[in-house]
C-alpha cells in the first residue's frame, strides 16, 4: 500500500474534513520547513565561501578600494605554499593540537574511568569539573593572563610554592619556550571535561554482563581493561578527538586573549596568522587563498577521519 494513512482517512471522511486534511501536501510542508534554513545557510555560509574562493584569485586589498583589482590566477596559492612563515604557523598549530589532544585524552579518560567507579556524589563533582568548558574562552583567557603574571599571579605562586622556584623568575606568556605551554594548559583546563563526558558515556554503554563473563573466565582486571574497556570506549574517544581536533584547528579567541600569537610568533596558530594577514595587513586576496587552503585541509582531514571512525564503529 503506497497510500499514507491521512489519504486513506481523507477518502473515508466527508467533504470539509477531507479538504482540511489534504490542504497542504507533506512534500510542500517539508519544503516550506526546510527552505528558510537552507536559504540562510546559503546566504551566510556558502555565498561567502564562494566569494572567498573568487577573491583568492585576485590581488584585492579591502583597505585600498580605489586600486584596480587584478586577476592573478594561482599566484596567491603558490606564494602561500612557498612561504616559510606559514609553515612555522602550521608547526605551532600542530604542536598545540598534539599536546592538547594527548593531555585531554589522558586526563579525560582517567577521570571518566575514576568517575565510573560510582563513588558517592560523583554526579555533583562531574558537574563541577564540567563548568570551565561552557565559559567564554575570550573572557576566561583574558583572566588567565592575570593568573600567569610573574610574582602576583596565582599560577606562578602555586607553581613556585610546589617547585620551590621563585614565582617572579618565569613568565608563562613572555617566555618563548613557555608560551606554547601557556595556551596548552588553559585549553586542557577548559576542554578535558569534554573528553571526559564522552568517555564516561562510552564506559557506561558497556554492559555489565561482558565483565561478568570475563570474570567467570578468570581474565585478570588488566586484561579486561585492554580487551573490553579500551576497545569499547575507542569509538567514543575517536569522536571526542574529531570534535576537539576541528575546534582546536580553528582556535582563535583563547589564544588571541592569552598570548596574541606572541612572543614574536611562537604561538601564532593558523587562525591568528590568518587574522593578521586579513585584518591587519589587509591582504584580502592572499588571505582568502589562505582561508581556502585551511578549509580544504580541515574538511579533508575530517572526512578521512570520519571514514576511519566508521570502520572502528562497525568492527
Amino acid at each position: 500500500m503506497s497510500r499514507t494513512s491521512p489519504d486513506r482517512v481523507a477518502r473515508a471522511t466527508p467533504g470539509p474534513v477531507a479538504r482540511r486534511l489534504t490542504g497542504l501536501s507533506d512534500r510542500a510542508i517539508a519544503w516550506i520547513f526546510v527552505a528558510p534554513t537552507i536559504f540562510l545557510l546559503l546566504a551566510i555560509n556558502i555565498f561567502p565561501l564562494i566569494w572567498t574562493l573568487r577573491l583568492s584569485f585576485t590581488n584585492m586589498r579591502v583597505n585600498r578600494p580605489n586600486e584596480p583589482v587584478e586577476w592573478v590566477g594561482l599566484r596567491n596559492y603558490q606564494r602561500i605554499l612557498n612561504d616559510s612563515g606559514i609553515w612555522e604557523t602550521m608547526q605551532a598549530t600542530a604542536h598545540f593540537l598534539f599536546w592538547t589532544l594527548a593531555l585531554q585524552i589522558l586526563i579525560g579518560f582517567t577521570l571518566a574511568w575514576l568517575i565510573n567507579r560510582k563513588f558517592r556524589g560523583n554526579d555533583l563533582w562531574t558537574t563541577i569539573i564540567v563548568l570551565p568548558m561552557m565559559l567564554s574562552p575570550a573572557v576566561v583567557g583574558n583572566f588567565w593572563t592575570f593568573l600567569y603574571q610573574p610574582q602576583i599571579g596565582l599560577f606562578n605562586y602555586v607553581v613556585g610554592f610546589l617547585s620551590g622556584a621563585d614565582p617572579s623568575s618565569f613568565s608563562m606568556i613572555a617566555d618563548v619556550r613557555l608560551a606554547p605551554w601557556a595556551i596548552i594548559i588553559v585549553d586542557t583546563w577548559m576542554w578535558t571535561p569534554f573528553v571526559m563526558l564522552i568517555c564516561l558515556a562510552g564506559l557506561r554503554s558497556i554492559p555489565e554482563s561482558i565483565y561478568e563473563a570475563a570474570e567467570c573466565d578468570r581474565a585478570s582486571k588488566w586484561r579486561q581493561f585492554w580487551t573490553i574497556t579500551v576497545p569499547m570506549v575507542l569509538p567514543f574517544l575517536m569522536l571526542a578527538v574529531l570534535f576537539r581536533g576541528i575546534e582546536n584547528f580553528k582556535m582563535f579567541d583563547l589564544v588571541v586573549q592569552l598570548t596574541g600569537g606572541g612572543p614574536g610568533n611562537t604561538t601564532e596558530v593558523t587562525s591568528i596568522n590568518l587574522k593578521r594577514e586579513a585584518f591587519e595587513k589587509w591582504r584580502t586576496g592572499y588571505s582568502s587563498a589562505y582561508a581556502i587552503i585551511l578549509f580544504v585541509t580541515v574538511f579533508g582531514l575530517a572526512s578521512i577521519y570520519v571514514k576511519a571512525l566508521n570502520k572502528v564503529k562497525s568492527r
Binding site: S5, V9, L21, G23, I29, F33, V34, T37, L40, L41, N45, F47, P48, L49, V62, L111, L114, R117, K118, F119, G121, W125, I128, I129, V130, L131, M134, L135, A138, V139, V140, N142, F143, F146, L147, I152, G153, Y157, W189, P193, L197, I198, L200, A201, R204, E208, E212, E215, I246, K250, F252, V256, Q257, S271, L274, F279, A291, V298, F299, A302
Partner: protein
C-alpha cells in the same frame, strides 16, 4: 558478599577514585573562584604578593566596572562631599564619577543578540528538524551533512566576505547583522540536536492526531511541539551559550554600536594596565548565567556538545 555484583568496585577503590576526582575538581575550580574573589578585592589587594586568599571585600571593582571616573583635587572633594555609597568609594582615590561606563550597553548587546539569534535558530531549526525527521526530503543525508559542515569553517575564513557583504548591505556593526550571523552558525547545532529529539517522539501520536482530523500543521504544533519542549529548551540554551560566548566574529565585525561583552571585557583598563578587580567583576557577571545554565543542563550536556552524536 553474594548480594554484590562481582563487577561492583570495592569500598577502598571507590574511596581512592572519589578523592582523586574531588582533588581534580577543586583544582579546576580554583581559577573560577579566583575570578569571583578578585571581583571583590581592592586594586591593591588584587596585585598583592603573596596572592591574598583572605581580604576585606569591597565593591570597588563593580563600581569601576560600571562607571568612568575623573581625578579631582582635594579641595574640590572637600567642597563637594560624595552623595552616594559608590561616590564615596571612588572619593578614597581622589576621584569623582564622571558617568556610566559602556559595560551596561555591551552586556545588553550580548543579551539582545544572544536571545534574538537563539529565538531565530530555534524557530528555523525546529521546522527543518521536523521536516528532516518525518518527511522524505530529497538528498536528506547530503543536506544534513552540508548543514553540519558549515560548522567546520574557521570563523576568520568566512569573516572577510561577510565583512564585505555586511558593509554592502548596511549590516556591519548592527544587532540585526550579528543576530543573522549567529543564527546561521547555530543552525547546524539546532537542526542536528532537534532532529534527534523529534526522532525520539513516536510517530503514532501524530498519526492519531491526523486521523482525528488535525492537519499536518496542527499535528505539528499541537502534538509534536509540546512533546519536544524539553529538547527545544535545552537546544535553546546551547544556542544561547554559543552566541553569548562568541568572540571572533564579534571582535572583527562590531565596534561602536553592536559590540558584545566578550570583546569588551578584556579592554577594561584602569590607571595602570588592566583594572583586574573591574575585569573580574565584569567576568563574574558575564560567566555566572552560563554556570547556572550548565548546572541546569547537566543531563543534556553531552548530547548538546556532540551535536546529538552521543546520547545517554
Amino acid at each position: 558478599m553474594s548480594s554484590y555484583s562481582i563487577t561492583e568496585p570495592s569500598k577502598p577503590q571507590k574511596w581512592i577514585a572519589g578523592s582523586l576526582v574531588i582533588a581534580y575538581a577543586l583544582i579546576t575550580l580554583m581559577p573560577l573562584l579566583w575570578i569571583i574573589a578578585t571581583g571583590f578585592k581592592s586594586p591593591a589587594d588584587s596585585i598583592a604578593y603573596p596572592p591574598k586568599v583572605f581580604f576585606t571585600p569591597t565593591l570597588e571593582g563593580y563600581v569601576n566596572l560600571f562607571t568612568t571616573r575623573t581625578r579631582q583635587t582635594a579641595e574640590f572633594l572637600a567642597a563637594n562631599p560624595p552623595q552616594t555609597w559608590y561616590a564615596e568609594i571612588v572619593a578614597k582615590y581622589d576621584m569623582v564619577i564622571a558617568g556610566p561606563s559602556r559595560f551596561g550597553e555591551r552586556f545588553l548587546n550580548s543579551v539582545i543578540i544572544g536571545f534574538g539569534s537563539t529565538f531565530l535558530s530555534i524557530f528555523l531549526g525546529t521546522l527543518a528538524a521536523y521536516a528532516f525527521s518525518r518527511f522524505k526530503v530529497p538528498l536528506k543525508d547530503d543536506l544534513l551533512f552540508f548543514i553540519l559542515s558549515t560548522r567546520m569553517m574557521p570563523p576568520i575564513a568566512v569573516a572577510i566576505p561577510i565583512f564585505l557583504m555586511f558593509r554592502q548591505l548596511g549590516l556591519s556593526d548592527t544587532h540585526l547583522g550579528m543576530i543573522l550571523l549567529y543564527t546561521a552558525v547555530n543552525l547546524s547545532l539546532s537542526v542536528w540536536l532537534l532532529k534527534g529529539f523529534i526522532d525520539e517522539i513516536p510517530q503514532e501520536y501524530e498519526e492519531a492526531a491526523l486521523i482525528d482530523g488535525y492537519t499536518r500543521f496542527q499535528a505539528f504544533y499541537k502534538v509534536v511541539l509540546p512533546q519536544a519542549a524539553t529538547g527545544i529548551a535545552s537546544t535553546a540554551i546551547f544556542c544561547l551559550i554559543f552566541a553569548w560566548n562568541e568572540y571572533a566574529f564579534a571582535v572583527l565585525l562590531t565596534s561602536g554600536n553592536a559590540q558584545t561583552a566578550p570583546p569588551f571585557i578584556p579592554t577594561i583598563i584602569g590607571t595602570a594596565g588592566q583594572d583586574w578587580p573591574a575585569v573580574a567583576a565584569g567576568a563574574t557577571l558575564f560567566l555566572m548565567p552560563v554556570m547556572v545554565f550548565t548546572i541546569l543542563l547537566r543531563k543534556h550536556l553531552l548530547r548538546g556538545i556532540t551535536f546529538g552524536a552521543v546520547r545517554k
